[in-house]
Amino acid sequence: MASPDLLLSASSGHYIHVGVINVSVTNLLIVLAMIVVFVLALVLPFPGAGDLGPDRGEQS
């Protein structure tokens, strides 16, 4: 049987409150991870992209 303290800690998360913005730490970390993935998708080279050369025509 879970203790009341454990139940309390399981039901309430940590929140960051700045002005009108109130976000849980969990959701903030997920949003930050999505931004990291977005930036990596822009900067990381796609496999095979270097084989195209200067002629950016159609490729299979």
């Binding site: 997920i30 999505m34 993935v37 977005f38 990596l40 998708a41 822009l42 990381l44 796609f46 095979g48 992209a49 195209l52 950016r56 025509g57 159609e58 490729q59 299979s60």
Partner: protein
């Protein structure tokens, strides 16, 4: 021996009025020939940012399959079965990935102004898919058959009553919310998703802003 007799209805030199002919023409004309399932793409598509649309679609397939298994087991199944709990977790996490991929797809398309080149409707239908997906996820949270679902519905009812839709979309009615979640909203998401993909195949993938081709 009886000769085989064939009859041709709707000869080629007469314009057919059959609804099947009309529908066949409309379906075959939805996308240019060869573009429905292409095996070649413009070179600018070779970028990770162009992957997130199809990742969203892949996550949606997992959402639908895991949701169908959950529907077979019933709303209480995942509370009493280890397998049910596993399938429920698959459903939850595929939804999380679905939304993460969709939002990154949205960011990428927003910053490359993907509505260029007569693609406004593609963008608008994508917005509709996003909104329909939010409604589907919301009714999913209401269909968990636990205190979390109760809490969310009690918190949501005032907001929905304030915009005057509470009478026909009653979040305190778990049966109604479950049917919206497993039938009406998935059908809506499916229709707008297919519509979105048809429009993408019809107009092609939007080129980057610095591309000299495709504009």
């Amino acid at each position: 021996m009886t000769a085989l007799r064939t009859t041709t209805v709707g000869a080629a030199d007469h314009p057919s009025t059959n609804w099947t002919t009309w529908l066949r023409g409309r379906i075959s004309g939805l996308v240019p020939p060869g573009e429905a399932l292409p095996d070649r793409q413009p070179a600018y598509v070779v970028s990770w940012i162009y992957v997130f649309g199809v990742l969203t679609l892949a996550a949606l397939v997992v959402v639908l399959v895991s949701g169908a298994v959950l529907a077979a087991g019933g709303v209480a199944w995942w509370h009493v079965s280890g397998l049910g709990h596993f399938v429920n977790s698959m459903h939850l996490w595929s939804v999380e990935l679905f939304f993460a991929f969709m939002v990154i797809h949205l960011w990428g398309k927003f910053w490359m102004a993907a509505w260029r080149g007569k693609r406004v409707l593609t963008w608008v239908i994508g917005v509709l898919a996003f909104v329909a997906s939010i409604g589907t996820a919301f009714t999913g949270y209401l269909s968990q058959s636990n205190f979390d679902a109760q809490w969310i519905s009690a918190e949501a009812k005032d907001g929905l009553n304030a915009v005057a839709i509470g009478a026909w979309f009653n979040v305190l009615n778990p049966g109604q919310m479950l049917l919206w979640h497993v039938l009406l909203l998935p059908v809506a998401v499916g229709i707008v998703t297919v519509w979105h993909i048809v429009l993408v195949r019809r107009h092609g993938v939007v080129p980057p802003l610095d591309s000299e081709r495709g504009e």
